[in-house]
């Protein structure tokens, strides 16, 4: 009773689905190559008269995209580095060390995961203001240098490693810190990669917190810069899309080249979450 098609009937659904998923991005790309008039034309100009690269150079000049990228890169790299180091230290302590108040502290950290960011964003803003970090990259980096998610994830992962390896290292004279950095972390590459990718994605795409903390253009991250770019050039679609493509390019490139990694990290984070 199988249908006698030369191809699987799944294609009949998958093709339109893929079209719907890709169409917005493709249309963004096409629009970015159009002239301003073409972009406002109705019916839409499906094939632009030419590839107007000038949109990109105009966008680059209209707003300091270079600055935006640098800011985002600094914040993201610092957050990733901070999390990898601090969450490893804490995760390891919770996983393997016995110290006074350990379980209470762990539960407290975990409990913060239950609270939405929006609850704490106002007081956190006040704290950041009092620390003098408003409108600075530090205000974006410092609150996220260690996340409860990272601590939890690494603690769970460290617990799955065979403890004999660490015991052997200690017998061989390794300090506790040495065991963490020389034995445990090299064995935890998948988990560390997952954490790194998740923090990377999350920090790069973060919008609400930067929106609150940053007030001047030169401190904007890519997302903030993009939003204000839209604010300034609302109906200049071709220019706007050129800016959008530029802003999206790094993440899309990472995704395309490292799709398998990406996907496995998100899946792993989801399963552990």
């Amino acid at each position: 009773m199988r249908p006698r098609l030369p191809f699987s009937p799944r294609h009949l659904v998958l093709i339109p689905l893929s079209a719907v998923m890709l169409l917005p991005l493709i249309w963004m790309l096409i629009t970015s190559f159009q002239t301003l008039d073409e972009s406002r034309h109705f019916p839409p100009v499906l094939l632009p008269t030419g590839i107007h690269w000038s949109n990109y150079s105009d966008a680059w000049n209209a707003a300091p995209f270079g600055r935006f990228f640098i800011n985002s890169a600094v914040v993201t790299l610092a957050s990733v580095a901070g999390n990898l180091v601090f969450c490893s230290l804490a995760g390891y302590a919770f996983a393997r060390l016995h110290f006074f108040g350990r379980d209470v502290l762990f539960v407290a950290l975990l409990a913060t995961l239950m609270v939405p960011f929006q609850v704490i964003m106002i007081p956190t803003f006040i704290i950041v203001k009092d620390l003098g970090l408003v409108n600075s990259l530090g205000g974006l980096i410092v609150p996220n240098l260690a996340t409860p998610f990272g601590v939890f994830m690494l603690r769970q992962f460290f617990r799955t490693l065979p403890i004999e390896l660490e015991e052997a290292a200690r017998i061989d004279g390794c300090s506790r810190l040495g065991v963490l950095f020389r034995i445990v972390m090299p064995l935890s590459m998948p988990a560390l990669a997952t954490l790194g990718i998740v923090i990377f994605l999350w920090t790069w795409n973060d919008f609400l917190w930067p929106l609150i903390v940053i007030t001047s253009t030169d401190q904007n991250t890519v997302q903030l810069g993009l939003a204000s770019f839209q604010g300034a050039h609302q109906t200049n679609w071709s220019l706007l899309m050129a800016g959008n493509v530029m802003a999206l390019a790094p993440m899309l490139l990472v995704f395309i080249f490292a799709q398998r990694w990406f996907v496995r990290s998100l899946a792993g984070a989801g399963v552990k979450g």
Partner: protein
Amino acid sequence: MIARAARSEHVSGWLFVLPAAVLITVFGIIPIFWALLLSFQQNDLLTAPTWVGTENYRTLYHDPVFRDSVRRTLVYTILFVPISVGGALAIALLLDARVRLSWFYRTAVFVPVATSTVATGIIFNLLLEPTYGIANYLLGEVGLGPYGFFQDPDQALYSVVAMTVWGWLGFDVIIYMAALQGVPQDLLEAARLDGAGRWATFRHVVWPLLGPATLFLIVWSTINALQVFDEIYVTTRGGPLHATTVLVYYMFNQAFELFHAGYAAAAAYVLFVITLAFSLLQLWLGNRRVHYTS
């Protein structure tokens, strides 16, 4: 000797934990309690705050804009969660078999996840532009529309649902595909031998084993949906006529545009309670019906 070793472990433990503990306490735990305090104050982030007890909560209760924002958030959530989770399941099942070009389909489904919320909003502003956007053009070709989308108060929220589903679907598909791969092959073969057709195999063998993934996605999606903000800020700014003013947008507006920080903190705690209630309910239901294979 033993006491000294134990003591050194206490010290080491605390030293290891200190950086993360300090950071999370300062930027996580303290703000949680501070926000509660704030909610009992009249605070404009500049001058000294005044204590007003539960007045903020009472005002919220009677504030029609706030109540509407809660209602809208719930409507959004009730639409977003089933569509994205259910759709993801269907797509994951379609992608699970050995189909030609599956790499292409998978990439197409996953790519939107890599777009930031801001970029997504900007793209959809372009797509759904009522006068000359391509969405109305394509719909016109099949005899539908034109629609106002973001500019029509009756359609704006649904347009936001469509936009955010587009952006998040891939993540759910990733989770489901990983879960499907975890179903042991010989269980499927045993079901074949036991006489289960495709639907029976899905219903009796695959679907129960997807329980943990489904529960995770429902809880996760609900929490995210209740907190939706970025895409709305970039597209409709809560309009038109408050049609897309959801809870977080209302909060943001109150705290950082109108400087009613105490009032916003109270709204935030309402969000917290709603989120907690949903999560606990779903987890409780889930634990009763979800089976975890050791």
